[in-house]
Symmetry: C2
Subunit: 130 residues, 2 copies
DNA sequence: CCAGTAACTATGAAATTAATGAGTAACTCA
DNA sequence: TGAGTTACTCATTAATTTCATAGTTACTGG
């Protein structure tokens, strides 16, 4: 059974925010959903190279519990479940973009940073072109 | 001896950025230094309630290696070392503020989030009043 | 009737991160 | 002489996060 971290609710806004889109997979899921709009569970897993079911399922639960991702279930056989960002989820995209821009300013010149397993770069950094 | 993570340099900007100010202590150190400008090691540890020497020392090394924090050593007895933010370090403050503002919009209404051990809230959230 | 599919869950191992507690050099102050 | 100070390091343990693998239900297509 999934147990939400109650402690999170008494943390400060900065920790609350970092908890929502920090970590290894959360920002990546948010970016993929931002790009593809709607994805079934299996398609999402294919987009996220190397993620395992256990991690994807629990990470999705956290994002849903935090109101970032919406889950819509269709009662069919075989099962069908669709995931997309909520308004709250879309509202974090400017923050992620600002992080990308900031990093780009310091990080871009001295290394290759776009590797094939990181879809969010292709999305984020091309779209933040002001 | 401290070994920098080379892998970080081939990651995408979003991961690079989250690595720099994510984690349990990094954003807190950045905020305290933003507020106090300059702090000796021992004062910094006092500001960060509950941090241990081992964690503070290695976290500082990471922030220094990432160019966020500057270390200045005075050859005195007893030893004296001062820490402050670099320009790059100060440039992350707007991002941290935007995270605070975002969180505040969603998080503020339903809980107490400022607790005594979180100095960065007092700093961050009062200063982001637009 | 057996393999395949979808969307998971459960379990244990591995890896990473953080915490604990002690120790160090070279002094100063009582 | 002996405790206190500073800015750490080191070794070990604990906690957290992630990975790897297998299993489940209720079907469908061959």
């Amino acid at each position: 059974m999934y147990k939400p971290k109650l402690e999170k609710d008494i943390r400060c806004p900065l920790e609350y925010g970092l908890d929502i889109f920090g970590g290894k997979w959360k920002s990546r899921i948010i970016c993929v959903l931002a790009e593809k709009k709607v994805l079934r569970y299996s398609s999402l897993r294919k987009e996220m190279t190397n993620i395992t079911d256990a991690v994807l399922a629990t990470t999705l639960k956290e994002l849903i519990a935090d109101g970032i991702v919406q889950r819509q279930q269709f009662d069919e056989i075989p099962p069908k479940v669709e995931y997309c960002l909520t308004d709250k989820g879309r509202s974090v995209l400017p923050i992620l973009q600002s992080i990308c821009r900031w990093s780009g300013a310091y990080h871009r010149e001295n290394s290759e940073y776009i590797h094939s397993q990181c879809q969010k770069c292709d999305y984020k950094c091309e779209n933040s072109s002001d």
